[in-house]
Amino acid sequence: MAGRRARAGAVRARVLIRPKAGILDPQGGAVARALPALGFEGVHEVHVGRMIELEVDDPSTVGAMCERLLANPLVEDYEIELLG
């Protein structure tokens, strides 16, 4: 999707969803352990989250989509980027 143009009238949006601070992130931990084993030193604080990319006619609705479906506010934080 990167670099692509959205369809006429629509806006490209990106939602980044990450585990809330303080909640164990085993996926991040697994990556953090695997990297040095492959010879990549000097990596700290790895976190794995989700990215959802969509094209929306009305970008003001993305926040509501996140609250209702895309993220679970109990365990996840989200961030919306509008890419135009």
């Binding site: 909640i23 164990l24 085993p26 996926q27 697994a30 479906l69 895309l70 679970n72 109990l74 365990v75």
Partner: protein, 234 residues
């Protein structure tokens, strides 16, 4: 007693759950797209991968039309049991507190687990003899129960932690070894292990039968309330 077993696209254990529930009542399938509970006194949301577990386990299923009716039954005090994916759906739907996160091993695991009774007064354990431990299979990749510290304290205080994995058996990394929780009223319970796979001698353990047998008393305890649609059964 009529037990409704919900079937979503991607449900897997609904047939086994219907078979197990048939031993204690009349079990009927509830189709996700229908708002109708077909007169069920209790509802079970079975295991599987509703909507492929895509996005988050249970996240999409909670919006199915049938869930509105399940929510009404729960609000009226009727018994609702979520097993595995059903537990995930109930958490996502806000009918149960907390969330289920990927196992710490990040792998699916299918093994028998021993369970300790944490709240013997739960109607979902009415048939479990005092002091008994249960052996029931668990099989999931997203079963690590999580609740923030404050919520956890409340759950413990109110007796909403119903079952725990025995020490050393919490392979998914659940907080406080929690295997099953209920809502505050006690009429909605979610559990990760699968009682429907432990109902016959040939299954290696028949302890799961106790959970289904308990449904009868759970309905008896709350049935009138459910029929009357009276908000809370507390």
């Amino acid at each position: 007693m009529r037990i409704g077993v919900v079937r979503f696209p991607g449900s897997c254990d609904h047939r086994d759950t219907i078979a197990a529930a048939s031993a204690v009542g009349e079990a009927v399938e509830l189709w996700h797209a229908d708002r109708d509970l077909r007169g069920a006194d209790a509802v079970i949301i079975p295991g599987g991968f509703s909507y492929g577990d895509y996005l988050r386990a249970g996240a999409i299923a909670r919006f199915a039309p049938v869930m509105e009716a399940v929510g009404e039954l729960a609000a009226a005090g009727g018994p609702v049991l979520g097993i595995c994916n059903g537990f995930q759906v109930l958490c996502e739907a806000g009918l149960l507190p907390g969330a289920l996160l990927p196992n710490i091993s990040l792998r699916f695991r299918c093994v028998d687990v021993r369970l300790e009774v944490s709240n013997p007064r739960s109607p979902f354990l009415a048939a479990v003899p005092a002091g008994a431990a249960l052996r029931i299979p668990a099989k999931h990749s997203i079963g690590r129960y999580y609740a923030p510290a404050g919520m956890l304290r409340e759950l413990e205080e109110r007796g909403q932690v119903i079952l725990r994995y025995a020490p050393g058996e919490s392979f998914n990394g659940s907080v406080e070894r929690i295997a099953a929780v209920s809502n505050a009223a006690g009429n909605v319970m979610g559990m990760m292990p699968h009682p429907e796979h432990a109902v016959r001698e040939r299954d290696g353990s028949a302890d799961g039968r106790l959970i289904f047998a308990s449904l009868r008393s759970a309905v008896a305890a709350t049935g009138a309330g459910a029929a009357a649609g009276s908000g809370s059964a507390r």
